[in-house]
């Protein structure tokens, strides 16, 4: 039999997905409002840098946002793949977790780039 993630692990993935969903609900709203406000006077690289460079608050916000998005998406794809393609088991779960963290890392790196620019 294929090794499965423990039931406890499965529940943790589910809880992580719910918690990241709550974070995303807030983060996406903040993100959209920021976009709408920011583009009113036209969009320039200087504006963006002016807003984000050296601001720990924005860095933290985007780091959390990226982490939540990466994990939430990967866990969702894991569930779809398990149901539709039969991709079940520990190996797949670890791979999805890796993909989620990698996606998050790209986002965090971008946020860091703007913070430290």
């Amino acid at each position: 039999m294929r090794a499965m993630t423990s039931v406890r692990g499965q529940v943790h993935l589910w809880v992580a997905q719910r918690v990241t969903a709550m974070l995303l609900a807030v983060a996406v709203t903040v993100h959209l409002v920021t976009i709408i406000l920011a583009v009113r006077g036209g969009l320039t690289a200087a504006d963006i840098l002016g807003r984000l460079r050296g601001h720990e608050g924005w860095l933290a916000f985007y780091a959390v946002f990226a982490l939540a998005a990466g994990l939430h998406g990967a866990i969702g794809l894991r569930n779809i793949a398990a149901e539709m393609l039969g991709w079940r088991g520990r190996g797949f779960d670890l791979a999805w977790l890796g993909i989620g963290l990698l996606t998050a890392a790209f986002g965090i790196r971008a946020a860091w780039g703007l913070y430290a620019a």
């Binding site: 499965m4 039931v7 406890r8 499965q10 529940v11 943790h12 589910w14 809880v15 719910r18 918690v19 569930n79 398990a82 149901e83 539709m84 079940r88």
Partner: protein
């Protein structure tokens, strides 16, 4: 003045009934059955077996909607056949197509094998385990369970399940994931999670968690929509998820 046909006034004189014959492999055979007023789908099956083909296999017991043994797929939808009137499902042409319940192995003809369904019921710890007497002895103290308490009402809402398997046959997740415990077993578990006299809470919650348990449910409510007893397994499963969410987040699980 346009004449209404006799069919339109009284329904068809004969029913054209296609019945699944065989096991997983098999085919439909068509029978013509005299239509009658107040005829149930189970009456039709019984008539075919008595008058036309004694080899037809099907299952029933109580004929009054209590035992849960007569469920089949009627014109594509899982139903209890003893309480389903032909006039409600056969249309003006009097057509019926009968198959065994979906998502279960077929024993023969219209009889589905309920073994996986009841095995999962047991896996979900769907059995009451007295708190004070795990060995099954009569407890010394009787618990007082106030009828208006929240837990009692949660348990009451799901307690009338007759184990017919209609919800199980209507659930997509069961068809995608053969390990999924399914709506009836999880609904039963939720009634016991709310039973203050039960002593197997931690084990039961562990048994209904994860990918084979409540966390795979998509809350699509097909089970709730089809349950002939008007139960709401979908809400029961949401209750299990809520309970496990807070228990996990707050570290309340052993």
């Amino acid at each position: 003045m346009p004449q209404t046909s006799r069919e339109e006034r009284e329904g068809p004189r004969t029913l054209a009934v296609r019945v699944w014959r065989g096991r997983e492999e098999g085919g439909f055979r068509e029978y013509r059955v005299p239509a009658q007023a107040n005829q149930t789908v189970l009456d039709v099956v019984t008539w075919i077996q008595r008058e036309l083909d004694p080899t037809l296999a099907y299952r029933f017991a109580c004929r009054v909607g209590m035992c849960g043994s007569c469920a089949m797929t009627v014109n594509g939808r899982a139903r209890w056949t003893c309480r389903t009137h032909v006039s409600r499902v056969a249309g003006p042409e009097g057509r019926l197509e009968l198959r065994p319940l979906a998502n279960l192995p077929v024993i023969r003809d219209l009889a589905a094998d309920m073994t996986p369904f009841f095995d999962k019921w047991a896996k979900a710890r769907g059995r009451f385990q007295p708190k004070d007497a795990p060995d099954g002895a009569v407890p010394e103290e009787f618990h007082v369970v106030p009828p208006a308490s929240r837990q009692r009402r949660e348990a009451d809402a799901g307690i009338e399940c007759i184990g017919c398997g209609v919800c199980y046959a209507s659930c997509d997740v069961v068809s995608w994931n053969p390990d999924y415990l399914g709506p009836a077993a999880l609904n039963r578990a939720w009634t016991l999670v709310n039973d203050v006299r039960d002593g197997a809470q931690a084990e039961r919650l562990a048994a209904v968690a994860g990918d084979a348990g409540c966390h795979s449910c998509h809350s699509t409510q097909s089970c709730t929509e089809h349950c002939p007893k008007q139960l709401d397994p979908s809400a029961a499963i949401a209750g299990l998820k809520r309970r496990l969410f807070w228990d996990t987040l707050l570290g309340r699980r052993a």
